[in-house]
Amino acid sequence: MTAGPLLFLAGRYLRSRRKHRGVGAPLLSLLGLAVGVLTLNAVLAVMNGFQLTFIESLLELSSSHLRWTPGDGQPSADATLLAAQPGVRAVVPTTEGQTLITAVGARRGAVLRGFPANALALDRGLASHLGLNPGFIGSRGLPAPGEVLLGGELARGLGVIPGDHVQLTALSGQAFSLLKPHLVDMTVKGTFSTGYYEIDAGWILANLDDTREAFAGPSDFFYAVKLDNGNADRVLADRLAAVIGRPRPEFSTWRDYNTAFFGALRTEKAVMMVLVGLIFFVVGVNIYFGQKRAVAEHREDLALWAAVGARPRRLRLIFALEGLIVGMGAAALGTILGLAASWGFGSLNLLSSEAFYLPALPARVLPHEVVLVALACIASSTGAAWLASAGVTRIPVAEVLRSE
């Protein structure tokens, strides 16, 4: 028996039930599943938007994919060799430390990052995520010695504008108990915005020469390595360590220093998928009982088909096909609406950018997740219908025909 007659019968039964019951159970099931698919796609798109945008920005601005911390804390010619390796997008010498910034009587703690003046040319990812605000002193770009760039929120909090002078507190000394603070005067070259309040309110960018001289110890110096494929971090860390003959522990990957945070994001997403995905279970139960009722209603029909030669196991497919039709319809409808909603979230300015520090609600659609959601919808519908149709094989044909 081919699928043609079964599809024909399934389609006709489905149409008949819709016709005789108005907005019948199949249509309600289809709409319920479609709402589930729509919701899952939209929620996942927004979650992906937040997570991926944040993760990418964090990787490009802050943590990078790999960090190579030379054991002696000094710049190395091997950096050039690293930058030439396949899969490596950029290698930028960097320092990271903390400081106290003072201006016009205001004082704030801040993260001080040191970059060479040509870092934006070396690292396009950094350049694309670091928004330089208007109003620079001199050329737009990273600071030269004696200059700093302040996060826009930090500058606003301190009440400074480009051209003002600030003082950074540096510590010097051979031991913690002997540390002595001293103030370093700097000129505010300009401000930047990244879209992330923590960075915009707490970061200062300075020239690498300044930070290495006055603010950073040997352990604060590292090379920020950006990769073409951020997920190849561990493989490339092994390979790069081998290429330059350095101990592997000198390399750390973004997974190492962001494990807890990214793990929490993944968990949040998984839990959200399960919670919203429960709608598939609920609708699946509805389909299950709907199909059981349909089997009972078509008891005589099925007995007749069996009597004239159709195999009950094949007849069961009629009802499973109904589930498949409902599932596919719901998946198609829900996916279209879900993608439209995701596009709408990304295009419409639904949230106040000042209140939420967001220029727009980010939405990112991942094709494999869309496919996964659609398959889950189809599987729940078809599976429920298949389970419910088990009764088809147990219909006592002779008894049913006799009782009529």
Binding site: P5, F8, V308, R402
Partner: protein
Amino acid sequence: MSESIALEFRGVFKTFGGTDEPVVLFEGFDWSLGSGQSVAVVGESGAGKTTLLHLAATLERPDSGEVLVGGQPTAGLDERALSVLRTNALGLVFQFHFLLKEFTVVENVAIPSWLAGVPRKESWDRARRLVSLVGLEKRSGHYPYQLSGGERQRVALARALVNDPALILADEPTGNLDVRHARAVQDLLLDLVTKEGKSLLLVTHDQDFASRTGLALRLEAGRLVPL
């Protein structure tokens, strides 16, 4: 095995009910129906007429003994093989028409053929010919609820013939019909035997109808005796 035997019962035992108080319907029942023969079976309600027909249709299995259809033993056949046998060799007509309300006349007739693997177009062509044969060509697009009782039974007869079975098993096919419609259905069934060479096993309460077949028998105490 002789090809002239359309249906054969060999030592068939069949009981009904539980093990406590079983009702014995057939006890070592032996009987055969020749090809191209029409036989009517009458008998009191509960005598086992429908069971006899269901055994012949392989819808029920005997407790012991054997039923052969067209010379083929059915006892060892699995569900798939029985389905094939019913599709190809048997045409069933019931007292109740069992037409599917969601399908038109021609669809009701064509679908068993399509289910049996005949291409869709050919199934529909066959169905239209048979609908025409039973005099309902103008009703082929109608649904069962739009037909009279007699018309529905004629559609059921057309459906039974769609796979061109050699043996037709009819259970009270005119039981729900008025005299005029009953006569039309009887004529159709008997024509199949005389003109098409098919075999007919008919169960009926209608003695007149029984007398029009080649042989009329009474089912009594698990035995078929001449009427």
